[in-house]
Symmetry: C2
Subunit: 71 residues, 2 copies
DNA sequence: CTCCAATGTCAAAAATATTTGACATCAGTG
DNA sequence: CACTGATGTCAAATATTTTTGACATTGGAG
């Protein structure tokens, strides 16, 4: 469901990291990165933590929960 | 798998909330609460956000990621 | 002691996330 | 133009999370 937003794409751009690179560093597939960037579903907490860690920011800086949002 | 810790049980105790109550307010099953409290698996980001919200704290205050932890 | 609420366990089914693989598009480069 | 890297899409298989339901244990209250 889509009540979570994220700034991964933007952050990735700023850092000039490719989807593939991020995926590799996080330890998931490029498909997963794509799905997350496009809010296709909400990732596991562990994956989210890893992404934030690779991007070097606290989790809440790349993922936000808005109860009242579809997308 | 289990690289994530949480203080849900403690926070629940402080607030004198029951597993069932937390589950209801979060919108999941008691089983899910139990599983999370016991680190049986890492919940979805959405569930984690809701739990934090119900407990009235930022996500990172009830869930911590420690890359080097089995549990 | 009896009863009840809260917690825990087990296992199977259902739902959701993640992987794998194949292929399409688009922009830039030689 | 031909080629390549980055992104996107689709679908099926696999893995993980969540639900459902049934039952055990413990501690407190009446």
């Amino acid at each position: 469901m889509g009540a979570i937003r994220n700034q991964i794409r933007e952050m990735r751009a700023q850092r000039e990291i490719t989807q593939q690179e991020l995926a590799d560093r996080v330890g998931v597939t490029r498909q997963t990165v794509i799905a997350i960037e496009q809010d296709k579903y909400s990732p596991s907490l562990e994956t989210a933590f890893k992404v934030a860690m690779v991007l070097g920011v606290p989790l809440e800086q790349c993922f936000q929960y808005d109860p009242r949002g579809k997308r």
